[in-house]
């Protein structure tokens, strides 16, 4: 069947050429998918100041969801709610609640969405210590104190408190200054006993549990600090699907545990931000994962809404932040 020697070599050479031709045809037909190149760009319209690591996770999640690889282009939303469009994109992930008037024309909402949850991330060492325990607020405080005691040169907790959304989320979970006022009793209390988020955070800083730099830190720095191992705990935006499925997480998050922020009374609240996928009519996007595969959250979810959150940021963030800075609790 096959001739030996020169004939076989010639046949193998011919086969290689055919394979190469096929590859070329596939590349020509599906260049982006085969070579890992982007299938296009997807605009990301949200008030969140996305760190590169978070964008990376969103991109992976989008790819997992759509089966296509996209590059994300972040379209910042100004504090005033105005949006700067640099390009008109056929696909956009739009934060839930953003008025449609702010969405570029020609796009229509799909059924696809990516949800981000705001959780507490615990470093590998702490995760090992925690094991499968549920982290309560008290335990959280105690753990922080222990960690601080073990290494007085190090602050075990870090937060991107410069991020307005982080402050908002803390206020959602732990109350806002306008709602509650700390008293003298509170001043002496530990941080986790403070009446509102600003007081809690301030007290935590004062207790040297929360790194004071958190006040000037943005989301990116916080994620860097946590990734470097200079903090054991940090708030984290995480795709909802990653929460209970460690396999979906990127490698650098191996060993890290994510959990809802501990609240008093053993409550849990999970702020959730949904990014809906909008597309142009020409785009054909289908979900590559079944509805059953969607992550389920057992915790109580606080659906974050653009309008309401923006309204809070515009109205109440300054006071809470000032209270955090100056300690005017």
């Amino acid at each position: 069947m096959f001739k030996s020697g020169k004939g076989k070599k010639q046949r193998n050479h011919g086969m290689n050429l055919m394979i190469l031709l096929l590859i070329s045809l596939v590349v020509i037909s599906f260049p982006k998918s085969i070579l890992g190149a982007s299938d296009g760009s997807v605009g990301l319209l949200s008030r969140i100041d996305f760190a590169p690591a978070l964008l990376e996770m969103i991109s992976h999640e989008l790819e997992r969801t759509t089966g296509r690889h996209f590059s994300l282009i972040f379209q910042p939303v100004e504090a005033s709610g105005s949006i700067n469009f640099s390009d008109s994109l056929p696909l956009m992930l739009v934060e839930k609640g953003i008025p449609e008037i702010m969405i570029p024309e020609g796009l229509e909402k799909t059924d696809l969405s990516i949800s981000l949850v705001w959780v507490l991330a615990a470093g590998k060492d702490v995760t090992q210590v925690l094991g499968s325990q549920t982290l309560t607020l008290d335990k959280f405080a105690a753990l922080l104190a222990e960690l601080r005691q073990n290494d007085p040169q190090r602050f075990p907790w870090f937060e991107p408190l410069l991020s307005k959304n982080t402050m908002r989320n803390f206020c959602l979970l732990y109350g806002e200054k306008s709602q509650k006022t700390s008293t003298r009793r509170h001043r002496a209390a530990m941080f986790h006993q403070q009446p509102h988020a600003a007081a809690m955070l301030y007290r935590a800083i004062e207790s040297e549990l929360l790194n004071p730099l958190s006040v000037e830190a943005d989301l990116g720095l916080a994620m860097e600090v946590f990734a470097a191992g200079d903090a054991d705990f940090v708030s984290y935006w995480l795709p909802q699907s990653y929460l209970n499925n460690a396999a979906l997480r990127p490698a650098e998050l191996a060993g890290v545990s994510f959990m809802p922020f501990p609240l008093s009374g053993n409550r849990t609240l999970l702020p959730k931000l949904t990014l809906n996928l909008w597309k142009s009519k020409e785009q054909k996007i289908v979900s590559s994962i079944s509805a059953d595969a969607q992550a389920e959250i057992n915790d109580s979810v606080v659906e974050l809404d653009f309008l309401s959150e923006t309204a809070w940021i515009n109205s109440l963030y300054p006071a809470n932040y000032d209270a955090l800075i100056v300690g005017d609790l």
Binding site: Q153, R154, F155, N211, L213, E216, E224, G229, D230
Partner: protein
């Protein structure tokens, strides 16, 4: 040795080339030497400058390090990370800051004793800094000598919001790569030494070791500039004590410049000079070729062509393009020369024509002379001979010019040679000495008698420069004289004979008559008859002799006419035919049928009859008589030979053979040959006899073409 032709253009070009090449080479060498000297000077200056520069360089390095340290110290991230315990992030930041900067490491030592360093992955915890030490707030740069190398370290305080939080140390390792970089910047090899060790160097290992040895030696010598041999090259080294380490050890920097570079610069300069020289030579060659052609050779060629034209005979040629230089002067001189030559030639031509006319005239004179004129030079050779001389001596010498005296005399008879020599020797004696010479040209020409003498040939100063020999042909005169003598003699004899004959004739007649009467009266048987018969026959013989004598003595008339020789000889041969056959003598005649002679035919027949009869009578046993007649084209004589193969005659007989009454026979009158000679003389000819006993006799008759006289 044969001269080799070398073109003037080639010589000019070669000369110019050599001159310019020499000049260029001298300039090249001079400039190269100057460049060498200057280069060495600059080299030294450079070394000195380098030694100064290294100090500035060192300072700039320190400042750069310090500035960078201060810059890093101002980094918000560094200070924040440092202040807020983000040591891992600080470690990353420090590593990030130091990456690809060329600095060895960046270390932050916090006031709490935490130390983060870029070249250590672990964050170390040491003793807290002594806050009381005021030096904590100082910035400094120092050299640190560690086991792993020499470092330049800048330390600055770290502040956060004005509060001291630690110290930042930025270090640069003074390693080989740094030295190489320094070497690149300074364009000189560098090495740094602390104590006895070369800690870092841009030099190759072997060179480094050499420098290390020198460093040890130099620590004693303390020379700041010295030479060192690296391999096959010499290097100039400068030494600078640049700083001291934190421990107080002297840090020395060595700067080394290879003299090879300097030499290579010189060599480059030399090569460039040579290249320029080469181009100069090429241009010079072109210019010299053009110059030699335009300015020199074309004009020389013009002169040459002009000379050729003049040599060809056209003396009217003039060079028209005359410039104001030496060649122009030459051209003018040439023109003057040509004009002068033309004038002289014209004069010369006139003189030559005059001389030619004169020469022709003289030649004509000489040629017309019947007298031989032969000129001799002082060396004894014949210079010239006129036509008469050539004619007279043509049978002996094909040409006379150039003959030496010896050669001339060789063909003359002995007596004539004596006369010539005597005349030659006595030419200076006063008086006109004449002499006679005989020449015997050959068998076809008659003997000649020439009379003449020598004269001195004098120049304008009356100095003799040769001799003139003049000779006149007196042969005919001699013949005539002889003939006259003979004739006179014969005439006398004839007259005597005639008178005797006449006197005895009558008595003889009487005797004869009486004898005849006695014959009639006596009977045949009478014994006296014999005697009477003898008397009568003898009387008859005497009558014949008397008749012959009277015939000999009687002047006879002659009738000359031109007649073909055959008309003379054929009748003669017919007459003697019977006699010749009887004596068994063969007669043979050889002559051209158209040979003509100017003779009296009857007399000449008589001649041949006598000669033939004599010949027959001389050959009693038979033989041959040959008659040959011919005439040579240049000779005026017709030569006739009558030769027999008889007994021949003795020389004494030959000398007297033509004498009247001379006979060797018992019978005969002895007048036959005398009559023959008389007849020949009458014709103006000549008869000669040659004979040899036993071999025969030859009578040679020379008859002139025309009667002379």
């Amino acid at each position: 040795m044969r001269n080799i032709y070398i073109s003037l253009r080639f010589k000019v070009i070669v000369l110019l080339f050599i001159l310019i090449a020499s000049l260029a080479l001298i300039i090249n060498e001079s400039s190269t030497a100057l460049i060498h000297e200057k280069t060495r000077e600059i080299f030294q200056q450079r070394l000195d400058l380098l030694r100064e520069s290294i100090k500035s360089y060192w300072e700039s390095e320190k400042n750069l390090l310090l500035n960078n340290a201060m810059l890093y110290a101002e980094s918000e991230k560094l200070t924040n990370y440092s202040s807020y315990g983000l040591y891992n992030l600080l470690q990353k930041e420090v590593e990030r800051l130091i990456a690809k900067t060329g600095f060895h490491d960046l270390k932050i030592t916090l006031s709490n004793g935490m130390t983060v360093s870029s070249n250590q992955s672990l964050i170390t915890r040491g003793q807290p800094l002594d806050m009381r030490d005021t030096r904590q707030n100082l910035s400094l740069v120092e050299v640190q000598n560690h086991e792993d190398g020499l470092y330049l370290a800048a330390e600055v305080p770290l502040h956060k919001l004005g509060e001291f939080i630690g110290r930042l140390t930025l270090r640069r390792k003074l390693d080989d790569s740094r030295m190489k970089r320094t070497a690149r910047n300074l364009q000189a090899e560098t090495a740094v030494a602390v104590k006895e060790t070369i800690t870092a160097s841009s030099l190759a290992e072997s060179y480094r070791q050499e420098l290390a040895k020198e460093h040890l030696l130099n620590s004693v010598r303390k020379e700041d500039v010295f030479n060192i041999r690296f391999g096959n090259a010499t290097w100039s080294v400068g030494r600078v004590n640049i700083a001291k380490t934190a421990d107080g050890e002297q840090v020395t920097i060595y700067l080394a410049i290879s003299q090879e570079k300097m030499l290579s610069l010189v060599e480059d300069a030399r090569t460039r000079n040579l290249s320029v020289t080469g181009w100069v030579l090429v241009i010079a060659l072109i210019i010299s070729v053009v110059f030699s052609e335009k300015v020199l050779l074309s004009r020389i060629r013009e002169l040459r062509d002009g000379a050729n034209i003049i040599a060809g005979g056209d003396l009217s040629f003039q060079i028209t393009s005359v410039h104001g230089d030496e060649l122009g002067n030459l051209a003018r001189s040439f023109n003057r020369m040509a004009a002068s030559l033309k004038l002289n030639r014209d004069h010369l031509q006139h003189y030559v024509e005059h001389i030619e006319k004169l020469a022709n005239y003289i030649q004509n004179i000489l040629g017309s002379l019947k007298t031989c004129v032969i000129t001799w030079n002082i060396a004894g050779h014949i210079e010239t001979a006129n036509q008469a001389a050539l004619h007279e001596f043509s049978d002996l010498f094909p040409t006379l010019e150039g003959l030496s005296l010896k050669q001339f005399l060789t063909k003359l008879p002995k007596n004539s040679r004596k006369e010539i020599i005597k005349g030659w020797r006595t030419v200076r004696e006063p008086g006109d000495r004449q002499f006679e010479i005989e020449i015997n040209p050959g068998s076809n020409a008659g003997r000649k008698v020439l009379q003449g003498g020598f004269s001195l040939l004098l120049d304008n100063e009356r100095n003799p420069y040769g001799l003139i020999l003049t000779l006149s042909n007196i042969t005919q005169r001699k013949i005539i004289e002889q003939q006259l003598y003979h004739a006179d003699k014969l005439s006398s004899i004839g007259q005597l004979a005639a008178s005797v004959a006449h006197e005895i004739k009558n008595p003889l007649a009487s005797i004869k008559t009486l004898g005849q009467l006695l014959q009639e009266e006596t009977q045949p048987e009478d014994s006296r008859r014999e005697y009477i018969d003898v008397i009568v026959s003898e009387v008859n013989r005497l009558n014949m002799v008397v008749e012959q004598l009277l015939k000999y003595a009687k002047p006879e008339d002659s009738s000359f006419r031109e007649i073909v020789f055959s008309e003379i000889i054929k009748p003669v041969m017919s007459l003697v035919h019977h006699e010749s056959e009887r004596h068994r003598v063969v007669l043979q005649a050889d002559y051209l049928p158209d040979l003509k002679v100017f003779v009296d035919s009857e007399k000449l027949k008589q001649v041949f009859l006598n000669l033939i009869f004599n010949g027959i009578q001389a050959m009693s046993n038979g033989g041959q008589i040959s008659i040959r007649a011919h005439k040579q084209s240049e000779s005026p004589w017709v030569t006739i030979e009558v030769q027999d193969t008889g007994a021949g005659m003795s020389p004494e007989t030959v000398a007297r053979v033509f004498e009247p009454f001379f006979t060797t026979r018992q019978r005969g009158t002895g007048l036959g040959l005398a009559i023959v000679k008389k007849i020949i003389d009458l014709h103006g000819g000549k008869i000669e006899v040659s004979s040899e006993p036993g071999k025969g006799t030859c009578f040679t008759i020379y008859l002139p073409q025309k009667q002379e006289g």
